[in-house]
């Protein structure tokens, strides 16, 4: 958009600050959106996992409820007595446990407790003698959920945290005459949780990459917008002076004219003579130097345009006639005060300025321009190196 080489230091600083602020705002928006999305994602994942946990637990509860009913029915509400006495029952019940012990159930057993609240195994689905718990072998009820199961006659669940093997333990009561006599215990392997987490992790990675790509895409779009915007405006720049040319005036500026605005038509005095005397190189340099000096004096919101040949146009807003005259004089003086030097050649250059201080968007732009041009003509007639305003 702007040619940085031609910008004054304060303008360059301001432009840089604007870019930094824009980028900072962009980063803040990205961080905010990422934060919101990440929180929403975490919440959804947590909910999904909780629901899956609940589903798994409820499936186990249903199975154990059925098993418990079979135990009670087969032993005619004499579960402990029959299991301790009859090897037949033990074998049958352990076979049942084995049938129910799917790969994700690491341990499936039945325990009971004595009057001293010591727990003992009654049944174990494990066949391996090294791992198997025999009847009456002590059981260590880590955690209080086994006692709670006895106390409440209701199933209990315990979540193992950071355990390498176990994920959830389920204690399901075997109730006889409204009293818990034994507990079906199941240790659910964390392999199930690991599988679930792996799937969720894959999804998380997918989500993460989508997020990263979106951010990169967003940044790329921002950079491309800046680039194309700059390229677009560069098309309206005069290659010699690096200020806007006449096409900019009619394509862009005319569409965003203020309600009241001011036009300054500027012409370099005796420019043809300079060109003829010193050559085009000097003429070109003078055009560059004049536009540079004027550039330093205009505000950010003003526009400096090379209208044609050695003619320039300055568009301003919010200046009253007095301010317009002062501004035009400052421009004239900035050119006349210091001669322009090109190598060994020193040229005393002056400009004439015609001002239309009361241009209005309610009237035709060309008419407003003509008034400024007429004023310039008057300045030329008045001997050049002076400012004249339109009536």
């Amino acid at each position: 958009m702007e040619n940085y080489q031609n910008l004054s230091q304060p303008k360059l600083t301001k432009l840089t600050k604007t870019r930094i602020v824009q980028f900072f705002v962009l980063v803040v928006i990205i961080i905010f959106v990422t934060f919101i999305a990440s929180n929403e994602y975490k919440y959804t994942m947590h909910e999904t996992r909780t629901q899956l946990n609940d589903k798994i637990i409820s499936l186990h509860f249903e199975t154990f409820a059925e098993l418990s009913r079979v135990f009670e029915k087969d032993t005619k509400n004499q579960f402990i007595k029959e299991v301790e006495k009859e090897a037949y029952f033990r074998d049958n019940f352990e076979d049942m446990l084995r049938l129910l012990r799917i790969s994700t159930v690491q341990n499936l057993f039945v325990v009971t407790r004595d009057a001293e609240k010591n727990y003992y195994f009654l049944l174990d689905s494990e066949r391996n003698p090294q791992k198997r718990a025999n009847i009456n072998e002590p059981f260590n009820p880590l955690g209080d959920y086994w006692d709670r199961c006895y106390k409440t006659d209701k199933p209990q669940v315990f979540h193992h945290h950071d355990n390498k093997d176990l994920w959830i333990s389920v204690a399901y009561p075997i109730v006889e005459n409204n009293k818990t006599v034994a507990i079906i215990g199941a240790d659910i392997s964390n392999q199930l949780d690991i599988n679930m987490q792996m799937n969720l992790k894959n999804f998380t990675e997918f989500f993460f990459w989508i997020l990263i790509l979106s951010i990169l895409w967003f940044i790329l779009l921002y950079i491309m917008t800046l680039y194309f915007r700059r390229k677009y405006y560069e098309g309206y720049k005069d290659p010699l002076t690096q200020i806007y040319h006449r096409k900019y005036l009619y394509d862009i500026l005319i569409k965003k004219l203020g309600r009241d605005y001011q036009l300054f038509m500027i012409d370099i005095d005796f420019f043809k003579k300079v060109n003829d005397t010193y050559g085009h190189n000097v003429g070109d340099y003078i055009l560059q130097e004049v536009s540079n000096r004027m550039q330093l004096l205009i505000r950010d919101e003003d526009s400096l345009i090379r209208y044609g040949g050695e003619e320039f146009l300055i568009y301003t807003t919010q200046l009253n006639p007095t301010q317009c005259l002062d501004f035009a004089q400052r421009i004239r003086e900035s050119i006349a005060k210091t001669p322009i030097k090109y190598k060994e050649i020193e040229c005393q250059i002056t400009i004439s300025i015609g001002v239309n201080a009361k241009a209005s968007s309610t009237e035709k732009f060309d008419d407003m321009l003509k008034k400024a041009d007429d004023a310039l003509y008057k300045a030329k007639l008045a001997g050049r190196n002076c400012v004249r305003t339109a009536n």
Binding site: Q106, N107, F109, E116, N118, F121, A133, N136, E137, P138, F139, N140, L142, G143, H160, H161, D162, N163, K164, D165, L166, G185, D187
Partner: protein, 139 residues
């Protein structure tokens, strides 16, 4: 009580067969609970137990079964000495009349049991937090 429960839960939680640190702490606690002596002399024929015992304060490894206060892990059949034993297998504990206690893993849970009758035979008793694990029966 809370301490030992915490220790057992932590131990079961960590459940790392390679990490003997927690097992070492449990054994130390068991020995401290069974004996009032400040310094204990232990005899064992198990190299793993021997490695585990190294570095435990106030516990010395005895090279003679007769001079030891306690025996840790099952001895071979030729060694005969009437000393209280702390074993690491429940089946061996059941079959060994001189085994006063056992510490073993069952279903991923560290389990401790003491036999009140066998403790009595050696004139021992379990104090403090571990007294919960003393039972009359040793099947």
């Amino acid at each position: 009580m809370k301490y030992i429960i915490f220790l057992l839960i932590t131990l079961s939680t960590i459940l790392n067969a390679g990490d003997s640190h927690w097992e070492k702490m449990i054994i130390e606690k068991i020995l401290q609970s069974v004996s009032n002596q400040k310094e204990l002399s232990i005899y064992t024929q198990d190299d793993n137990v021997l490695t585990m015992l190294k570095g435990i304060k106030n516990i010395h490894i005895s090279h003679s079964c007769e001079k030891a206060d306690f025996i840790l892990a099952k001895l071979d059949n030729n060694t005969l000495c009437n000393k209280p034993e702390l074993l690491f297998s429940y089946n061996e504990y059941r079959r060994t009349p001189s085994a006063i206690g056992v510490f073993f893993w069952q279903k991923g849970r560290p389990t401790i049991r003491f036999s009140s009758q066998r403790l009595k035979n050696f004139g021992l008793h379990v104090d403090g937090e571990l007294s919960k694990f003393v039972t009359a029966k040793a099947y």
